[in-house]
């Protein structure tokens, strides 16, 4: 991998004064991450989101292990009554499979985008968004069920009061992420179909290092945005893996 770095001639310690100079000095026209800027920014956003969810789950661990009142058994709380028997965690398991399927279709969409298959990429993104809507609907059903059974952020009929607050906080914040992802994917898919990313000024940056060299335009279309949106979606699935294991199964 001979990633030759091409410095720009104009850069250097003498480049400008004031704010421009500050930016020039700090950046020194060196690229640490040789990916499109949109991808690097998305990763940095996801890193910050990791800390948000990490802190939520740590807070959940703290209240759960410090309470002297028994924790409600999630296996029973989230059971569904089907055919005269209680099936533990059934809805949550289905939600997990829905979200994993959506990650699968998203990965295919990214793959299509790389093959410049615009229509299939957009269709697969719509399928992904539909899975996301399914997931959020099931979550709304689950919330309604629990609220009707008397779960509140300050208490519930089965045990430790902290159960409700952590449940609504963590799953609510995750559901918000899924909802935002559905909107994000739909917007990108519509724009993809309309050909917004086919021009030379496509958003999200290009894979070629933009270090002063002219970006070759002969390929025209730039569907990098699909991979960037995909990163967000896979992250939402990733967070669910942790919530499923630590909140529902523990």
């Amino acid at each position: 991998m001979s990633a030759v770095h091409v410095p720009v001639a104009a850069a250097g310690p003498t480049a400008g004064a004031g704010w421009r100079g500050l930016v020039a000095d700090w950046s020194s026209d060196r690229e640490a991450f040789q990916v499109a800027w949109g991808k690097a920014m998305m990763w940095i956003f996801l890193l910050s989101d990791t800390f948000i969810f990490g802190s939520f789950l740590t807070g959940y661990m703290t209240v759960r292990s410090s309470t002297t009142v028994p924790w409600p058994n999630p296996s029973q709380v989230f059971a569904l009554h089907i055919g005269g028997a209680d099936v533990p965690l059934l809805l949550i398991a289905i939600m997990t499979f829905v979200l994993i399927s959506s990650s699968g279709t998203m990965a295919m969409a990214v793959n299509c985008a790389y093959r410049r298959d615009r229509v299939n990429a957009a269709v697969l993104m719509f399928v992904t968004a539909a899975f996301g809507v399914t997931f959020v609907s099931m979550q709304a059903f689950e919330w309604t069920k629990l609220i009707l059974e008397g779960v509140r952020p300050w208490g519930n009929p089965w045990g430790a009061a902290q159960f409700g607050s952590t449940f609504f906080m963590i799953t609510g914040f995750h559901g918000l992420h899924v909802t935002a992802g559905v909107i994000y994917l739909s917007v990108v898919a519509v724009r993809l179909l309309r050909g917004k990313y086919d021009g030379p000024k496509a958003t999200g940056g290009r894979e070629e290092p933009s270090s002063g060299r002219a970006v070759p335009l002969e390929r025209g279309a730039n569907y990098q945005i699909v991979e960037i949106a995909g990163l967000y979606w896979h992250f939402v699935d990733l967070v669910w893996v942790f919530i499923f294991a630590l909140f529902y199964l523990w």
Binding site: A3, H234, D237, A245
Partner: protein, 104 residues
């Protein structure tokens, strides 16, 4: 590609990982369904969780094929959370003990 950042991979790879994620999810659901208890339960839950997370990040998010600089920038900072978890576990133990002493 000379930069090594183009993420074009055979579609079969994604299908395999997808299937694998389904299997792992079924297994982790099985842990609850078959009422496995104790250390084995927690061990299996964490094992399946980490395997699933690893597959998603490495293959679906293409991190396995990114350059090491990006991988380190993404994977190392969250390790700070382990310090937080350690601190809060100790704090929670302390709170639990004082509650047992004074609020029973």
């Amino acid at each position: 590609m000379s930069t090594g950042t183009t993420q074009q991979h055979p579609i079969g790879l994604y299908l395999k990982i997808w299937a694998l994620l389904f299997v792992l999810s079924t297994l982790s659901y099985g842990v609850d369904y078959f009422h496995i208890q104790g250390l084995l339960r927690w061990g299996l839950i964490v094992l399946f969780m980490l395997l699933k997370a690893g597959l998603i990040v490495a293959v679906f998010m293409h991190l396995a094929w990114e350059r090491l600089a990006l991988i380190c920038a993404i994977l190392l900072p969250p390790l700070c959370l382990l310090v937080l978890v350690g601190l809060m576990a100790a704090e929670a133990d302390y709170t639990h003990l004082t509650r047992l002493l004074f609020f029973r």
